[in-house]
């Protein structure tokens, strides 16, 4: 498996083509295993019914995740990324609910299964890592108790001593020293980075084949981020798990992911390989997102650019393209404000992308940006 490359994607936006040619696919086997999918989401629609309004958090989203593939889901806050993650796991709490769609995990549709059935799948076949390590662990239970619970819930036959041994192993696996002793500590005795490593250990405790990581490094400081990310990289390789990495940090996507989907106002507006999106962002929103990533070399050029305007109100979506009012291409164009763009598969310089933009074809064929 390829080691984690701690490089910045921003360095290669200008003259990316040669460099990209040398970059191997991060998961060589991911591209090949076309037949069997780890996860397939079809027409998923999630709404929050707030009485006075219905917020459409996820609107008709479909995507596939191959075995050991790493998919980055990128978008602004409030674009529906977390709602997507919770919907897949069936963990939405009222007033949120999945209104329609299928989630096919290892070949079977898990949408609409009973809580009993779902709970036997969660943690064993598909696991979750959340953003904030401070609140992801129960403050009044020991680290050991919480780790052992993750193991025990799917292995009721294991005895206490075996559970404890396995928990120590898991802590060691995520590089926590003196694991035996630290098992009886409480979360507040761990640092943020350590807690996130515990969260990773808990998620991987039962060797799930699909891992959903919702902003796993966002709450950490930069050096800890890099450590946690490289740990996740190593463990995901070892466990041969497929990952959906939800983030707003495109730098992390470039380091970690094979493919990327850009989420805007509840829809995946552009899905492609990582190489494609960094070289030829086809949807104007993808392009704008890329431009907003801080680049030390460009700091002299003045303040960071921002995307003008705000994401649309998900309970009162505009007609036409939801991005139109903020779009550098379609802001003035009638077609963008009137007609919803359909999904088109376009050919870029490095593979296909499926894009929801009226001008996808022209933009994919145009000059590199």
């Amino acid at each position: 498996m390829s080691p984690l490359r701690l490089r910045s994607w921003t360095g290669r936006t200008g003259d990316g083509e040669d460099e990209l040619a040398e970059t191997p696919a991060k998961h060589d086997d991911a591209a090949g295993a076309g037949g069997s999918l780890a996860l397939s989401v079809r027409n998923l629609r999630t709404v929050y019914e707030l009485g006075h309004a219905t917020v459409q958090a996820v609107r008709d989203v479909s995507f596939d995740l191959r075995h050991t593939e790493r998919l980055g889901v990128v978008g602004e806050s409030g674009s529906g990324k977390s709602a997507l993650a919770l919907s897949i796991l069936g963990l939405l709490e009222p007033p949120g609910r999945v209104a329609a769609g299928e989630v096919v995990l290892n070949g079977r549709n898990i949408m609409g299964l009973s809580e009993r059935r779902l709970s036997s799948i969660r943690g064993r076949e598909i696991a979750l890592i959340l953003q904030d390590p401070m609140s992801a662990l129960d403050p009044v239970k020991t680290i050991g108790a919480q780790l052992q619970q993750a193991i025990a819930v799917h292995n009721p036959q294991l005895r206490r001593s075996a559970l404890r041994r396995r928990a120590v192993e898991l802590l060691g696996e995520v590089d926590i020293s003196h694991a035996e002793r630290r098992l009886d500590d409480y979360p507040h005795q761990y640092s943020g980075g350590m807690r996130q490593r515990v969260a990773i250990a808990m998620a991987l405790a039962n060797n799930p084949k699909v891992l959903i990581a919702d902003e796993p490094t966002t709450a950490l400081d930069v050096t800890t981020q890099a450590q946690v990310l490289s740990l996740l990289d190593r463990l995901v390789d070892e466990h041969r798990a497929a990952v959906i990495l939800i983030t707003h940090n495109l730098g992390i996507v470039s380091e970690f992911c094979d493919s990327v989907s850009v989420m805007y106002a509840g829809r995946l507006v552009e899905s492609s390989s990582c190489e494609h999106i960094f070289m030829r962002p086809t949807h104007p929103y993808s392009e704008a997102l890329l431009r907003c990533v801080p680049n030390p070399e460009r700091l002299v050029e003045g303040p960071l650019p921002a995307i003008p305007g705000f994401p649309p109100d998900l309970s009162a979506l505009p007609a036409g393209c939801t991005f139109a009012s903020r779009c550098s291409v379609g802001r003035e164009l009638a077609i963008c404000h009137e007609r919803v763009p359909s999904r088109q598969v376009v050919q870029g310089p490095v593979g296909d992308a499926s894009v929801e933009c009226h001008f996808a074809r022209e933009r994919a064929a145009g000059a590199p940006r």
């Binding site: 919770l86 796991l89 963990l91 709490e93 009222p94 809580e115 009993r116 709970s119 036997s120 799948i121 969660r122 943690g123 064993r124 696991a127 979750l128 959340l130 953003q131 904030d132 609140s135 992801a136 662990l137 129960d138 403050p139 009044v140 239970k141 020991t142 619970q149 993750a150 819930v153 799917h154 409480y186 507040h188 005795q189 969260a199 808990m202 998620a203 405790a205 039962n206």
Partner: protein
């Protein structure tokens, strides 16, 4: 651990000291000469003077205070002239009734508030939530003696399903053989289920009346805590591990939400034990509260003074117990105490 204990103990002693000062000052500020009250209006002035001297009322104020406080802790609570008995004997006779009522009220208050708070937060039914919140507001804003009267009118006068204000047992019923002096427990110990039910029936209405306001307080607190905790990411994480929703709720939301409720529960129990003068009066409950009610009317200050300090001590002890329990349950408190000790 020892750090927490000593700090809490110091705080408790401070609270008791404050209460004793208040009780002492009230006694000295209220109009009326104790000796004159004891001896009556016809006693000669010289006798009053002699009794005042005997009561130590001409000594310096700090000597009087010391006498009062040391006598209190020695159990010398003085003589009740209106009842013609030692205050200690009087209170000792009345305490079991108050304790039984307090424990019963505490039990139903806790059960009802935990149950209803769970129901509305786990099930997330907006209508049930609105009903519970409505009851809570009503209970919070209605004084206990008024609740008592309403309960009596509804369940005794109109529905005739529960006994009226006749104390702990019906008029013709003898108390069960005394072991704990709590009639329900004693009846069970003596194997008299009929008497147990009789005692229980008599507890229901005063228990409800006493518990209502605190039920409102607790259910609102617990509901808010549970809602907050159930939105915590660690609940989602627990379910993500494969715990069912209810299991995650029970193992992670409940213990966390219960911590603040424990403190509140201590306050409530302390309040119940300190006695409810008005509820006991309405139901003719032969507890400490109704004793104090009579004593106030008769200006029998040695009873009132003892009651004030005694209820302060009760209140402080219960809360001390809760604080110590807290330190055992909540690892964050425990570790803090290790580092400060």
């Amino acid at each position: 651990m020892s750090g927490v204990v000593s700090r809490r103990l110091l705080g408790s002693l401070g609270a008791i000291f404050g209460a004793s000062i208040i009780a002492f000052v009230i006694m000295r500020v209220l109009p009326g000469n104790p000796a004159r009250l004891i001896l009556g209006p016809l006693a000669p002035r010289s006798t009053v003077h002699a009794l005042n001297a005997q009561l130590g009322l001409y000594k310096p104020i700090y000597v009087q205070y010391w006498r009062y406080i040391s006598h209190f802790f020695q159990g010398q609570w003085g003589y009740s002239y209106s009842e013609g008995a030692q205050v200690r004997t009087l209170i000792g006779e009345r305490v079991p009734a108050t304790i039984e009522l307090a424990l019963f009220a505490f039990l139903i208050t806790m059960l009802a508030s935990v149950g209803l708070a769970l129901l509305v937060t786990y099930r997330r039914r907006p209508i049930a939530d609105r009903i519970v919140r409505g009851i809570a507001y009503l209970g919070f804003g209605t004084p206990p003696f008024f609740v008592s009267l309403i309960l009596l009118i509804v369940f005794f006068s109109i529905l005739k399903i529960l006994p009226g204000p006749e104390g702990r047992l019906g008029a013709q019923v003898l108390p069960p053989p005394a072991v704990t002096h709590l009639y329900t427990v004693d009846a069970l110990l003596a194997g008299e289920p009929g008497k147990f039910l009789e005692a229980l029936e008599h507890l229901v209405l005063p228990g409800l009346a006493l518990g209502m306001a605190n039920f409102a307080f607790l259910v609102r607190l617990l509901r808010a805590n549970l809602l907050e905790v159930s939105r915590e990411p660690f609940i989602t994480v627990a379910r993500g591990k494969g715990l069912r929703r209810w299991t995650a709720f029970r193992r992670h939301a409940l213990p966390n939400a219960f911590l603040p409720t424990l403190t509140a529960g201590g306050l409530v129990l302390g309040e119940f034990l300190a006695g409810s003068v008005l509820v006991e009066k309405v139901f003719n409950w032969p507890g400490v509260g109704s004793l104090v009610y009579e004593a106030i009317l008769k200006q029998d200050f040695s009873v009132v003074q003892t009651f004030v300090l005694l209820s302060a001590v009760m209140f402080v002890l219960v809360n001390l117990a809760v604080d110590l329990l807290y330190a055992v349950i909540d690892p964050r408190v425990r570790v803090k105490s290790v580092t400060t000790a």
